[in-house]
Symmetry: C2
Subunit: 387 residues, 2 copies
């Protein structure tokens, strides 16, 4: 057996059909058509429109003889009302397949819209685990950042604008039918977003690897994501070379396959309430929390550290203590070299909010699979160290 | 980029929903039910019936309030007429979901029956790539050996009894909806079959890793399969410990995910005509061919050898030559220690058939993704060395 943890439980593993490669955005039309679609609801955003990628997607839809409706009323950290408006538009136009093109925001909005058109009600009705009962319309997701993993995951995160918190929806229903990644789209992504979204993928890989629900099926993907990120993160941010960007796109995919099946941990349990309260960039919040959560987790995951150290590009270290130091140091160096933010204060978080953020993190679904059972005091201490 | 090869083409990756763990055979009923089934066509064999596993599956179907028809007219290397009879039985009983429980034979027979009930005709009509046009009934496959990977693959292999050859059917349609592995079922598998089926998984992993269609998505699975096999193969055969058997079941799954998406190479291209002509055990044929094909392939796959050496349990070697020797030696030692057959002669192959076997291998679909383009002379030379 690979680890004691993986021996303790049954393993389930589900990933959508995956298409990956430079130029594959031209296949989005044939994908939507193959899923039985006639009228596509295309969800994207202004940035991708300006960069020309929306136009490319539209051309592919037309070539596949599909009509479409374009919807771009989606903010970063998409709002409940944007998703609810989107669902009304979908129904009004009689669309029958959804394509989400963008980062986590556009893709999660597409998932939310798909949920509502099939199930009705408000998006907050689906918060939590397995609350969706009717199957969604066919869904093709095309990521255009180095993170999120929404294109393969069973999660959707939508901001509740009234309660100022993030709703985490977890259901196999929100995994798309097809995940289509064209790494060429990363070439127009601003440097800042390369850094923050790759940090998100780094968190996904590490949290998935340390999760109590990890298995060999998720571990191989988490470790590959870490190797690709450790090789290409800093170069992708500063030099913008296509091969490094492609490695990050690939890392995002591997990390997504891992965390969608093993779930996450404290970084994301804390990042969700912070993102909900401050509308902060998700990757930036992760970058700040990650080193502190790793430090907190390391004592209970020693058995898996040699494999992780290898993932990060080292030969197998002789002892677990050496591996722990190696892992901690590598993560911090990577984040520093990539220019990631390093304090909650710098993200505008108010110190007096830390206790309530710690309380809310305890209710987040991601806390369940943390390798170390944290109480409110532990979480507050992590937040204070990261402040 | 990971390798030059992976940069050259778009990557597609598809795997069914996977359930893995001791005791999960009790979930087969809920799986069939979840796929909309009311009357199950259960395909298995006498050996599994005697060992009590068919009974366990039946109990699970009854607990899920499903009726079922049991079909066990399946030989090792299943015949075209067995599949065609099965399809008639399926239709006569009005079944609406298929469960295959067994090794490659029972599972491939289940795939063949599913193909015919949805598409009509004879099984040989579907030989080759993408010849199936109508979707199959829901399919749950439960492997009970350490090899085949049929439970996740897009392949089915059926013997053409008139032409005495194996038909290779390749289509995303024959991948099941759910792959369900209960490693407990390996505990009643005879020693000989542990050896031959694990050799099949070993071939799958190596051929998938060397395939020109390999990608990071398939490589991570191939390498993990190799690591698990190198750790547990010999112990599983000789000591029969549950944890080693579970590692082999896991290896079979990883290797299946790899080869289903990257395809195979010369070992399988040669093994198919040999199996068709002699009705020989597929794993035994692979065991004999594998070392010779690896020797033939090594000069053109040097770039990937350090990763493979690591997969086999070594630290990264300093040079590619060292890695090549390491790989070759490890494979041969593993096969010897596990007691695998080591010559075609010992399997009853006649020397005068070698030229026509080489000719037929050139027509096999698996030859396409071989890392080294072999002509008839090369294939004959491999067969002669393995004789």
């Amino acid at each position: 057996m690979e680890t004691t943890a993986s021996a303790l439980h049954h393993c389930k593993f589900e990933v959508p059909e995956i298409i990956f490669g430079r130029g594959v955005l031209s296949q989005v039309g044939s994908c939507a058509r193959r899923l039985g679609g006639k009228k596509v609801f295309l969800v994207s955003d202004e940035g991708l429109f300006s960069a020309g990628w929306v136009d490319q997607a539209m051309r592919s839809l037309l070539e596949a003889h599909l009509s479409f409706v374009y919807y771009d009323q989606v903010s970063p950290n998409p709002r409940d009302f944007e998703v609810e408006d989107g669902a009304r538009e979908y129904i009004r136009h009689g669309a029958d397949v959804i394509v989400g093109l963008g980062g986590g925001s556009a893709m999660d909005a597409a998932k939310g819209i798909a949920t509502l058109v099939a199930n009705g009600g408000r998006i907050r009705d689906y918060e939590g685990s397995d609350k969706i009962h009717r199957p969604l319309p066919p869904l093709v997701l095309c990521p255009t950042t180095c993170g999120t993993g929404s294109d393969v995951s069973q999660f959707a995160i939508i901001n509740d604008s009234e309660r100022r918190c993030k709703l985490t929806i977890m259901s196999r229903c929100v995994a798309p039918d097809i995940s289509l990644t064209d790494p060429d789209t990363l070439e127009t992504l601003p440097e800042e977003y390369i850094c923050t979204t790759a940090t998100d993928a780094l968190s996904h890989a590490l949290e998935a690897f340390f999760s109590v629900a990890s298995t060999t099926l998720t571990d191989v993907n988490a470790v590959r994501a870490l190797r690709l990120i450790s090789r290409s993160f800093v170069k992708a941010v500063h030099e913008h070379r296509p091969e490094d960007l492609e490695n990050l796109a690939r890392a995002s995919l591997h990390a997504g396959m891992a965390f969608s099946n093993s779930l996450l941990g404290i970084v994301h349990a804390l990042a969700h309430p912070i993102g909900g309260l401050y509308d902060a960039n998700h990757g930036s919040v992760n970058a700040v929390l990650l080193p502190e959560v790793i430090r907190y987790d390391l004592p209970v995951v020693t058995e898996k550290l040699p494999e992780l150290a290898y993932g990060l590009g080292y030969a197998f270290p002789d002892d677990e203590k050496g591996a722990a130091e190696m892992v901690q140091e590598t993560i911090e160096k990577l984040l520093d070299a990539a220019g990631a933010p390093r304090s909650l204060r710098s993200l505008g978080v108010a110190r007096e909010d830390l206790p309530s953020l710690a309380q809310n993190a305890l209710k987040d679904i991601c806390i369940i699979t943390s390798p170390r059972q944290a109480d409110e005091k532990d979480l507050l201490s992590i937040l204070e160290r990261a402040y």
